[in-house]
Amino acid sequence: MAAAIAPVSRGFLQRYAIVILAVVLLAVLPLSLDIFRLGLAAKYLSLAFCAVGIVLIWGYGGILSLGQGVFFGLGSYMMAMFLKLESTGADTSAQALSSFFGSNLPDFMVWNSVEQLPWWWEPFHHVWFTIPAILILPPVVAFVLSYLNFRRRIGDVYFSIITLAFSAILAIVIIGQQGVTGGVNGITDFRTFMGINLDPDNVKIAMYYITCVLLLVCVLIGTFILRSRLGKVLVAIRDREDRVRFSGYDPALFKAFIFAVAALFSSIGGAMFTLQVGLASPSLVGITPSIEMVIYAAVGGRLSLVGAVYGAMLVGAAKTFFSENFVEFWLYLIGGLFIVIVMFLPHGLAGLLDKLPGAKRHRLAALPGPEPDAAGQAAGERPAARLAGEVGGGK
């Protein structure tokens, strides 16, 4: 793949990366894939929202969150609750079942002999509650929790472990409270969204386009943030948090903000996932999926928002391919991927692009590497002699 695009100027690829991504998502994929494969692409793209967020928090903020599944799950479950209630209201067989029990309850609640809709389900009868909740609740939760922690100066590693624990907690609670969450089976079996039947092909294609547009908007928002002064401060915090305080900034606030943005993206991704795949499941909440989301970002390149989208699609496609053909090799592949990327390709596919001939220093100057030694230099050795060359473009 690298060879095929080598003749194209690398600067071109970078400057128009978002445009190229838009063309791929909005034209190339819909024209070349059948409806089934397009549905799979939509599924991976829903997960790409998380990967884009991970690039922001991990690549630029230096915070490795192993809890993006929590926010993906919140978005996914909130959407699922709305869809389930709508389907329960409309579906005749469900109605018959419910009226038999004297209430209008989702099927899994009836099976678990839950007799009354829990109060926190009630507002999800309304779309005007559900959609704002998907957009507001996860970022607010993320902001408050992480701000408190960052304010206490919890170390990077501790924060990763805490986010991991949150993933574990949410998955445990969902599985444990089967009667009100659907348990290990998740919430499924939806029919309509605001009266629109979700089954026909044209609805699915429309959903795909909506996902792509939302994803591109997220990438653009991320780009805007990174190019702003806030983005610079974020990089400064990643590399020298103590110094940033003495430049008069509150690092906790900035870190919590970017964490909240990533949570928002993940939540949108979760909602789009549920709409298209027709499922909200604890298997996308726990620690395994949460860590897997990090590899999407790592494959694309932890510093590349656009790369994260390709990373999610490639890993997702590989997962499907191997599950269909050589299921036993999938774990070897993804496990090996983690090791190889970390050891040899810390900047992922985007890093490979940077190594192409004709590489300018332009991008490196604007978007610095994660660690001094990650770029393959010997640790700590940055001879001042290099001063003479390499004048970055900067602005």
Partner: protein, 245 residues
Amino acid sequence: MSENILSVEDLTVSFDGFRAVDSLNFYVEKDELRCVIGPNGAGKTTLLDMICGKTRPTGGSIRFKRFDLTDMLEYQITRVGVGRKFQNPSVYEDLTVFENLEISYPKRRGLMGSLFFKRDADLLAKIDEVSERIFLHEVLRHKAGQLSHGQKQWLEIGMLLMQDPELLLLDEPVAGMSAKEREQTASLLNAISKGRSIVVIEHDMAFVRMIAHKVTVLHQGRMLAEGTMDQVQADERVKDVYLGH
């Protein structure tokens, strides 16, 4: 009598029972350039750490203008006009010299402020002026990580100048500099001390002589002597401490 911009009173900090700074009183006047000297372990750096909020004192008070710094956070202390330069030059190595200075510009340091920040003429003029002053105008587009040790020291001073602080705390600003660079730095400090107060920790006595208005000698967390360079050098106790027994 000119007013004190900084009043440190009865300041104490102990680490596991060891008193690094012990009931110290320390006053800095407006527009003064003060040097703090003393042997290793005298508590010089710890004193600066407490003033700028990096270390919490165990007891005592720190007043800067009308603010009580004792319970303020680092960024809040910075915002009321205290700038700190560290012993090891600490600059953002992955950002360019320009960006290092830009980030230190004291406007719009809030969340939304920095998200929608636009470079304006004031900022560019200021960066121009500061980079000229710290001898780094030619290398504005270089990454800070590529600078020499001495240049990083200057850059950090420049970052402080961008903040326009009323009180500058400099920890060994000429460490690792050549003789020529030291002289340049001395004239730089003399120039920027107009209109602001500066506290400098330094071991190099020749350099201290070049810049100091007044010298404070610390020893084992306590004040040993204070006065002009000549007074301090004539002091028997100071000689004892430096020559050792």
